[in-house]
């Protein structure tokens, strides 16, 4: 069952088409990553999906309910963590969560129990009576997450939830998303962090200049662009990259103290490298084979679309 269903979404700001005919479906239980460069249209799309922005054209259904026709009913099923994780700075951490739970119609006992459980899970129990304005960015983000999940939503939207966070806060956010997904929530997350998308998402949609240019699993996207593999080789001596270009090696680029060697034929390239090392009296320290990362696939996709 599709819990998020967007059809032909369009949004223009003046002459700029921020989102141009975007359609996507997210199935129940998925973690769907929405990947794109800054300004690609991720936030505009998620704002239309969550009812924060009215599209110029197109429809959005959340759990089968149209976000424009039945906004109150549709929003009851979703939790949203907007970009920058905003919560009310003049309320305490606990009051933010309790008020949000009340908005979703939870009774007093369940909202107090759930708030307590979430505060403990997110490591904020000791600060629950402090005003949010005294919190760090990472702690505010955790409160933002707490508010979004207090009613155990069927669908969770996260707009760049880890941007600007330290490593521990980022890990906490990612673990929480995974945990919620395991408990049955469907997740749509926008990010420009490719490794994060790779680690979290079962499917990824790539948006570029307001258009979706590909939707697939991270592995399939990577495979799709696996036209050439590469090797990473390092030598004990300094060398000029030009001596590495041989029959099986199409392109060479420096990578720190290593060389990245692109090839269509890995076996032949390794033999060529060994031969070049022998000929030039070079000592190979390490040699590793690899396939293109999701990042490379993403770059190729967006460059291709441009």
């Amino acid at each position: 069952m599709d819990v998020i269903e967007a059809r032909n979404l369009k949004k223009a700001f003046g002459p700029v088409n921020a989102v141009d005919n975007v359609s996507l479906c997210v199935k129940e239980g998925e973690i769907f990553g929405f990947l794109g460069q800054n300004g690609a249209g991720k936030t505009t799309t998620i704002r239309m999906l969550t009812g924060v922005l009215i599209p110029d054209a197109g429809t959005v259904k959340i759990c089968g309910m149209d976000i424009l026709q039945e906004p109150l009913e549709a929003k009851m099923h979703m939790g949203v963590i907007p970009e920058n994780g905003t919560v009310y700075a003049d309320l305490t951490a606990e009051k933010n969560i309790l008020w949000t739970a009340k908005c979703y119609g939870m009774d007093k006992k369940s909202r107090e129990e759930k708030a307590q459980e979430i505060l403990e899970r997110l490591g904020l129990e000791s600060r629950k009576d402090d005003l949010v304005r005294t919190f760090s960015k990472g702690m505010r983000q955790r409160i933002s997450i707490a508010c979004a999940i207090v009613h155990s939503p069927q669908v969770l939207f996260l707009d760049e939830p880890t941007t600007g966070l330290d490593v521990l806060s980022r890990r906490l956010v990612i673990d929480t998303v995974r945990h919620l997904n395991q408990e049955g929530s469907t997740v749509l997350i926008t990010t420009h962090n490719i490794e994060e998308a790779n680690a979290l998402c079962s499917r990824i949609g790539v948006i570029h200049k307001g258009k979706i240019i590909g939707i697939n699993s991270p592995e399939k996207i990577r495979k799709e662009y696996d036209t050439s593999g590469f090797l990473e080789v390092s030598f004990a001596q300094w060398i000029s990259g030009s001596i590495l270009v041989a029959g099986g090696i199409s392109r060479v680029e420096p990578l720190g103290d290593k060389w990245r060697v692109y090839t269509d034929d890995t076996d032949r390239a390794i033999k060529d490298l060994v031969h070049i090392a022998e000929q030039n009296n070079l000592k190979i320290i390490s040699i590793a084979t690899s396939t293109p990362s999701l990042e490379q696939a993403f770059i190729e996709m967006t460059e291709g679309a441009s």
Partner: protein
């Protein structure tokens, strides 16, 4: 739309506004201190009949207190970026507008009722028409809370701009509404009062306290009701447009 869910969303927005915005400096200054200072400025040192002056003071008190929270809420939330979170909760623009109006109205109603209670007990003021008093407090608080919400609707994330703009609108109104000079004594300038919504509230307070309002209390109440609808719908139209244009 589910009516009970909509009503709940209105109450939730109201509760949030009451918890956060009643204590903001600009609300305290422009909603409480300012009308008192204006009253003292005009009253002290002059030989004025307090019974005749008090309905105007009550009108001014209700006008400033009810319209002081509204202009702050939306720009403040846009600046703090909590507006986006609010809209993503189970609320619609209608519930945000009504919640903003209701929180402003409750503030104005409570403050003005307290002022009336204290004033009438200390000064032994008469009460000619209790129904008119209740109508004035209820309709006046809703009308000027609607004005405050309408003033906050233009797309801006700078609360000080809106507070300045709202005072630009509010201050001239108190001089043409029979607050400092009763409507019956305005003579040739009486026509200017018709343009100000505050006129009808002050007149209703006059009917309630002294029993000598210029217009019928039904007319005053009807005008205030129309003002509530016009300002409320205006605020909704502007905020709906902002939601469409992404501002």
């Amino acid at each position: 739309m589910n009516l009970s869910r909509f009503t709940w969303s209105v109450l939730m927005v109201t509760e949030k506004n009451m918890r956060i915005y009643y204590y903001k400096g600009s609300v305290v200054i422009f909603g409480l201190l300012f009308p008192f200072i204006m009253f003292l400025t005009f009253f002290i040192g002059r030989d004025l009949d307090l019974v005749l002056f008090f309905p105007g003071f009550l009108g001014m008190m209700l006008f400033f207190s009810a319209s002081s929270t509204g202009p702050l809420i939306t720009p403040w939330e846009k600046r703090e970026k909590t507006y986006e979170r609010l809209v993503s909760l189970p609320v619609v623009i209608g519930s945000i507008i009504l919640g903003d109006i209701l929180s402003g109205a409750v503030f104005g109603f409570i403050i003005t009722t307290l002022v009336w209670l204290v004033g009438s007990s200390l000064l032994h003021l008469p009460l000619a028409d209790p129904v008119a008093l209740i109508a004035a407090l209820l309709l006046g608080s809703l009308a000027f809370a609607s004005l405050g919400t309408l003033l906050s609707s233009p797309a801006t994330d700078t609360p000080s701009n809106i507070m300045m703009f709202s005072n630009l609108v509010r201050l001239p109104l108190i001089f043409v509404s029979g607050i400092f000079i009763p409507l019956s004594q305005l003579g040739d300038w009486a026509w200017t009062n018709l343009l100000s919504p505050l006129t009808y509230l002050v007149d209703l307070f006059h009917t309630a306290i002294t029993g000598d309002g210029v217009y019928s209390p039904i007319i005053d109440s009807a005008v205030l009701l129309i003002i509530i609808l016009i300002f409320g719908m205006g605020a909704k139209t502007i905020q709906q447009y902002n939601l469409h244009s992404g501002r």
